[in-house]
Amino acid sequence: MSIITALRKGIGLASRHWRALLVVYVFNLALAGAAAVPVFRAIDAELSHTESAEQMAEGFDWLWFEEFRASRNPGEELSVSLAPWQQGLAPLIVNFERYVRGSLRRDLPSPLIWLGILYLLITTFLTGGILGLFAEEDVRFSLRFFFDRAGRYFIILLGILVVATLAYWLLWDVIGTAWRGLVANVRGEATTEWTPVLLDWLGALILVIAAFFIHMVMDYARIAGVAWEKLGLFPALLGSAGFCLHNLGKALGLFYLTTLLAALIALAYGLLVRLGGGASTGQLIVMALVQQGFILASIWIRMVYLGGQLSFYKGVLSVPISVRNPEKPRP
């Protein structure tokens, strides 16, 4: 199967099961929205009845913001994490850098880290539902079916998550830390900034390639775990690694093609938010819709990754995969 075909099938699966997408989105919005309530209240108490309110609506009142940040108590980490750079494409770029460098847990306030871990567990659970849906050729979405599959695969997906976490730890905390040390040493003795910058970029490139590779292998492990229900954790991981290595070019091609699609969506979002702006309530609503559209698209892309890779996996193995027939030959 060509990677284009796999990607097309992945897009088809993700689009056909848009209800599953909505389920994931609801969790995303609910968790983030719950966290946003105290932030809204904190801002509202300090801003809405002051002369800065208008300036903040129409632009940005830097002094108000500095006072707001300085007036926060240690227990108000959520509102302290409000920052002037949280606009346009910058939050995505910042988050991406933190992901690449493995610094999400270092750079985020602890309530958000716990929120992220909770969401990670929830999405691990929901991924089972998504893969269960994708694995069945003709099944129609129902919450019952979705959550049934989510529950059925949760344990093996959790196991894969643990292994993935170990792999990321090795990458970010061992290799990444060593590289940062190297860059720091070079930086300390360099008389041109180019040297440490180039070295840092090289390190970031290595980290992102490695992180993507880990992600890809784990995705195929998840797919294998769902495809062969009785498969244990380590056979699934080994089978996934073997599959990826045997089909390295195409597996990587599919992964990066999907990543390119994600990047294009991010760019489109960047253009849209540049065109947007304005201070009226209506314009704010439009901006909120654009933002939520992007979050939906992000979840959709995650589903495209899974759908495309599952289709590719099926195509390469040339056997129909169905959880209703768990006696299929093992890879």
């Binding site: 995303n28 919005l29 968790l31 983030a32 946003a36 932030v39 809204f40 801002i43 509202d44 801003l47 809405s48 009845h49 002051t50 002369e51 309110a53 208008e54 903040m56 609506a57 632009g59 940005f60 009142d61 830097w62 108000w64 300085a70 007036s71 994490s81 409000l82 002037p84 750079w85 949280q86 606009q87 910058a90 939050p91 770029i93 910042v94 988050n95 850098e97 992901y99 985020l108 958000l112 992220g116 969401y119 990670l120 999405t123 998550l161 990321y168 003795e189 008389t191 041109t192 900034e193 910058v197 840092d200 992600h215 201070a279 309530t281 704010l284 901006m287 933002q291 979050i295 995650r302």
Partner: protein, 679 residues
């Protein structure tokens, strides 16, 4: 990669030296050498002739200085005190190292260390003295803390007292070991930046020697002429205080001597690096006033050439226009090598900037630091306060002046972040120069008053105090007195104290004299104390002809047991309301303030409150309601530590709240998706 045969390094080197020599010689021929605008009555106190050689193998500078020192006090003097700043990094336990909490060799390997060794000292013959060796009188002294491990100050005894008005000439031989960068001086690879590097005499006053051991603060010295011959490897491009004199002298041993000279300055620093790009421009900053700007630029910052030069021009132009003409014939900007630790520092006619590899337009780097360090030519260079004691007199004055130049020349700065080392600039987030010092000041506002000597201030509070509080004081004075009056204050201060050593009280006198007001109350509160300014709107209450009918209170400042925050007035009778607007003084500092009250029928009232009481209520009887109250509507009191509580608006505007929350929400949703990507 090999170079073509004709362009081999030695050929290039010789060609470059010849070209540079020719260019600099021609430039030098058009201008007098190292002079300044003559200052009536100016007589140098400490002048140096130096001849030194840089050895890159041993990282040493060695040679001698001939110091001509005039006793400008009313007393004879029997001993001379000298700074040996480099010895702060010679031994464990020096006062400098103790104060920054570092040790040798724990924190610093040997290559980082430095020292200044005096190897000879003799009085030269003149009308007061016969030639005599005085090296045996050499002794380290520790007048500030008695720390015997500190060798940053030494004394030499004269054979006989030097009478008031008399002169002595001393020849001092010395060797300086250059460190791997401490406190903006040192070397990295083949880059050398030399500052505070030679035996430098302290300041003699009628009360005795004003010379302190080296604390992690800045410097103080007397004015004179520096005539310095620097012999360095021939591949070095050299920049220094003053003007290059004559041709470069190329020696057969691969070294070249650069001769610099400058009158009416109180320090001498220099840089030597083979990789510098050199740019020169003549700049007529005011009609009839020209100076030569030299920019020494790192190759990786070539694209910043125009930004550096333009910023320097803005600095020269506005400082000269506002305070007095820049009197020197040269201004040399050094773009420091990456990691050299030499950035952002001032020396007479010579200063360092600094910029990242990717310097985004809209973010004023290198402009801000360039204007700031140029500005020190006035506040430090020309008006020579004692930085060790009264750092606010140069840092505060200069931070304010720099901000003002940037504001006029560039408009507001912008928020930026760096992602993967690349800048992202947020045009929407403008940082007004008038307020930019406020957050840093507020974080240490009540720690220490300005009148504590700089070297005794807690290190964490030094910047917020000497730079930021002082800058905000200037902005406040400008707002209170008006720009024209305040500009006259500063130009008078400059005119009266250039080439002298003013103290804080000298400035206060000039403020009073020029403004025609006694501003002692201002300086008592803001210079002599760490009290803070905080005025606020407490609330607005409405009473329907005698009957309480609702109130509005800021919950954060409402008196205990007072009425709670009620966002809407529930009055039904549109007529004959008694309205009370209450403002409060939450800080200890008192200051006259304006209070603007805007009614919903469009009428606007500006009240003037002396600001003395803790609380004051303005009462009105009218049919309209108060829509908005602002304390200090013209934002004169930039020292106010909480501007948010200065205003109250009846009708809530939640668009800003919504915008910020939506942005935060989106960021968090994206964070969650990145977490999910791990699953």
């Amino acid at each position: 990669m090999r170079l073509p045969r004709l362009a081999s390094p030695p050929v290039l080197l010789v060609a470059w030296i010849l070209l540079f020599s020719l260019l600099t010689h021609e430039a030098g021929a058009q201008l007098p050498t190292g002079v300044a605008i003559p200052e009536p009555g100016f007589r140098p106190i400490a002048s140096y002739e130096m001849d030194v050689r840089l050895d890159r193998q041993t990282h040493t500078v060695s040679g001698h200085e001939v110091l001509t020192f005039r006793n400008a006090t009313i007393h004879p003097v029997t001993e001379l005190w000298f700074h040996a700043y480099y010895n702060a990094w010679k031994t464990d336990g020096s006062t400098w190292l103790r104060l920054i909490g570092r040790t040798i060799p724990g924190d610093y390997p040997e290559e980082r260390l430095a020292w200044l060794q005096v190897t000879g000292a003799e009085v030269l013959a003149n009308m007061f003295f016969a030639r005599e060796d005085i090296l045996e009188t050499f002794a380290y002294i520790q007048p500030d803390d008695g720390n015997q491990l500190d060798q940053t100050l030494f004394r030499l005894e004269l054979p006989r007292p030097l009478p008031a008005g008399g002169e002595v000439r001393l020849k001092i031989d010395f060797t300086t070991k250059v460190p791997r960068t401490f406190s903006r001086t040192g070397y990295i690879d083949d880059y050398y930046f030399l500052a505070q590097w030679f035996p430098k005499i302290g300041v003699l006053t009628d009360e005795g020697w004003e010379a302190h051991q080296y604390f992690p603060v800045e410097y103080f010295a007397d004015y004179g002429t520096y005539d310095v011959r620097l012999t360095v490897p021939s591949d070095c491009i050299v920049g220094a205080t003053g003007e290059l004199v004559g041709r470069l002298e190329i020696h057969g041993d691969g070294t070249t001597t650069h001769h610099f000279r400058q009158e009416m300055v109180h320090d001498f620093a220099w840089v030597a690096w083979p990789k510098y790009l050199v740019f020169n421009e003549q700049y007529e900053f005011l009609p009839g006033h020209t100076t030569e700007i030299t920019l020494l630029l790192c190759p990786e910052h070539k694209k910043l050439k125009d930004r550096y030069l333009q910023a320097t021009k803005y600095g020269i132009h506005y400082y000269s226009k506002w305070f007095g003409p820049y009197p020197y014939t040269t201004a040399t900007i050094v773009d420091p090598a990456f990691n050299s630790g030499a950035g952002g520092m001032e020396y007479p006619t010579f200063f360092t900037g600094g910029a990242p590899l990717f310097a985004a337009p809209g973010v004023l780097r290198p402009e801000g630091v360039t204007i700031h360090e140029f500005g020190h030519q006035f506040w430090y260079g020309l008006v020579g306060n004692n930085e060790t004691v009264d750092a606010w007199l140069d840092e505060g004055f200069n931070s304010y002046s720099e901000s003002r130049v940037q504001d006029v020349a560039y408009g507001p700065n912008h928020e930026s972040i760096r992602v993967f080392n690349l800048p992202i600039v947020f045009d929407e987030v403008e940082i007004p120069f008038k307020w930019q010092a406020a957050p840093r000041y507020r974080s240490i506002a009540e720690v220490v008053p300005l009148d504590i000597p700089s070297y005794l201030k807690p290190r964490f509070a030094y910047g917020g105090n000497a730079y930021n509080k002082a800058e905000l004081m200037h902005w406040t004075l400008e707002g209170f007195l008006g720009w024209e009056t305040y500009r006259e204050v500063l130009s008078t201060f400059y005119e009266e104290w250039k080439f002298k050593h003013p103290k804080s009280e000298d400035f206060f006198s000039i403020v009073n004299e020029v403004s025609g007001m006694d501003m002692t109350w201002f300086f008592d509160q803001l210079y002599h104390s760490a009290d803070v300014v905080d005025y606020a709107v407490e609330g607005v209450s409405t009473r329907l002809m005698g009957e309480p009918h609702g109130s509005l209170q800021r919950p954060d400042i409402a008196p205990e047991g007072g009425p709670e925050w009620t966002p809407e007035i529930r009055g039904t009778d549109p007529e004959a309301r008694q309205i009370q607007v209450t403002v409060r003084r939450l800080g200890e500092v008192t200051f006259p303030v304006e209070v603007l009250i805007l009614f919903d029928d469009g009428e606007q009232v500006v009240e003037r409150w002396d600001g003395l009481d803790r609380r004051y209520t303005f009462t009105y009887e009218r049919t309209s309601q108060v829509e908005k109250v602002i304390v200090d509507p013209r934002a004169i009191l930039v020292l106010d530590i909480n501007r948010t509580n200065n205003s109250w608006v009846r009708t809530a505007d939640r668009r800003g709240t919504g915008k910020l929350t939506l942005r935060w929400l989106f960021w968090v949703q994206s964070v969650l998706e990145f977490f999910a990507f791990i699953s």
